[in-house]
């Protein structure tokens, strides 16, 4: 029962830390759409937090390049577990048009386990909310945390 409580509470209160891994800023602007009156994800308990220590979800935007990779790994290590990782936008998922670039370090899921993929360049708010739903579904399916 205690585990159920823990899991249920986590699924209802996901705090998001936004990791900018060399993005073009378009995804970063679009994330703020979710906090507007039209979409208002605080209804589902989501909050943007300022420190990875407080986070449950790492939202990684941008092309993970060789210089920023070390920082992303360190932020992931500094986040208290259980935590989810979301690859946000085409760049974090696949590298998009920077895939042949000399400093591209590979898609995000080559380096850290990614739980949710949110596609688009930038993703639409509806796609982001679908990502939230998928993250919650994934949490509910887990046997233990």
């Amino acid at each position: 029962m205690l585990k159920g409580l823990k899991k249920g509470a986590l699924a209802r209160s996901l705090w998001v830390y936004h990791v900018s891994a060399s993005p073009c800023n378009n995804c970063d602007i679009e994330i703020l759409d979710l906090l507007t009156p039209r979409f208002d994800v605080e209804r589902f308990g989501l909050l943007l937090v300022g420190s990875p220590r407080h986070a449950d979800v790492l939202l990684v935007t941008g092309v993970v390049n060789k210089k920023v990779l070390d920082r992303v790994l360190r932020v992931y290590a500094q986040t208290p577990k259980p935590c989810l990782v979301a690859a946000f936008g085409s760049c974090a998922i696949s590298g998009d048009l920077f895939v042949d670039s000399y400093n591209f370090a590979g898609p995000l899921d080559k380096h850290i386990p990614v739980d949710v993929y949110i596609g688009g360049c930038p993703p639409k708010p509806e796609a982001m909310i679908l990502g939230v739903v998928r993250a919650i579904e994934k949490l509910n399916k887990l046997k233990d945390l």
């Binding site: 409580l5 823990k6 249920g8 509470a9 986590l10 209802r12 209160s13 507007t36 009156p37 208002d40 605080e42 209804r43 308990g45 937090v49 300022g50 420190s51 220590r53 407080h54 449950d56 500094q78 208290p80 577990k81 259980p82 945390l145």
Partner: protein
């Protein structure tokens, strides 16, 4: 009158103390988030959201940063939780049984209120993070800024009541005459104490020490998991405690012997106070630390001294 040890523990841990205050405090943070959302034309989180947040944080890992003294870093939030529980117990028990107060409980409440900024400063300084240290230094400056006006505001009501130092006596004076808020000096003291409480709670425009967008949470930056849960709970309880502090000292507490149904109406007073706090929070931008210092040391301090002088001449 003497209270038995069992009752003291019951008061401290269950009814007006720890358990009751934490539940009501968490509900207060819900009111805060909901009213904020409605002001911004959003829907806002569900009623149990603060409880989900709290239990979620209990289930997460706690990091102690490298180089941080473990006992101080993790002990500071617990000291804060204990002191806020005692403040709320003392305030509410003197409200229920004004005869049972001990001499000088007003001073005890004031000293325990000081613990909250102090544990934030100690915890942040112990975390060996330079940004937390910045938050700690801001918290210290802010504390120096608002403490003097707050003391003057309390001195005002003490002078007004003719030198009473017990919370119970102050309440009975208000029940016998009128709440301090309804006199010129008391109203001025209330306004300055209210602004000081806004700063003590660390709300906008005085959330300089915590400034999420600027220094990533400042004093609470390095806390995670259960330690963060305890800190958040302390802040929620402080929210409730600050509102009953203002109600008890300036607005005649929760009940009056003259009106029977004041019991119910009285509990709406602290809610009215926090709605006012939320409105100020949502309609003002954050001040810089030097602006906050100047604001408290010039405007608010002058205001509270004027209130004190008015009380001394009997208005």
């Amino acid at each position: 009158m003497n209270m038995s040890v069992g009752w003291v523990f019951f008061y401290l841990l269950v009814f007006p103390g720890f358990f009751f205050t934490s539940v009501v405090g968490l509900l207060y943070t819900w009111i805060d988030r909901k009213v904020t959302a409605r002001i911004q034309f959003r829907v806002g989180p569900p009623l149990l959201q603060p409880f989900y947040d709290f239990f979620k944080l209990l289930g997460k890992d706690t990091f102690v940063p490298e180089g941080a003294p473990r006992s101080i870093f993790l002990g500071a939030p617990l000291v804060g939780l204990a002191s806020v529980s005692v403040i709320s117990t003392v305030l509410l028990v003197s409200n229920m049984f004004p005869q049972q107060a001990f001499a000088g409980d007003l001073i005890v409440v004031l000293y325990l209120f000081v613990f909250v900024p102090i544990i934030l400063i100690i915890g942040a300084s112990a975390s060996s993070n330079p940004i937390s240290a910045l938050g700690a230094s801001r918290e210290m400056s802010l504390y120096l800024a608002y403490e003097l006006p707050l003391l003057f505001a309390l001195a005002t009501i003490i002078v007004k009541s003719g030198g009473l130092l017990k919370i119970g006596d102050l309440l009975q004076w208000q029940w016998a005459n009128h709440p301090f808020l309804y006199s010129a000096s008391g109203a001025i003291a209330f306004v300055s104490a209210f602004l000081c409480m806004q700063a003590k709670l660390g709300f906008v425009p005085f959330d300089i020490a915590e400034a999420e967008q600027e220094i990533m949470g400042g004093t609470i930056l390095e806390y995670s998991g259960p330690a963060l849960a305890v800190l958040k709970l302390t802040k929620a309880m402080l929210y409730f405690t600050a509102s009953i502090f203002l109600t008890v000292f300036f607005w005649g507490g929760f009940r009056s012997p003259r009106h029977g149904w004041y019991h119910i109406l009285g509990w709406l007073k602290p809610v009215a106070i926090i709605v006012l706090i939320i409105l100020i929070k949502n309609t003002n931008p954050r001040l810089r630390i030097d602006q906050a210092l100047r604001f408290f040391w010039s405007i608010v301090l002058t205001l509270s001294i004027v209130g004190f002088i008015l009380a001394a001449v009997g208005l």
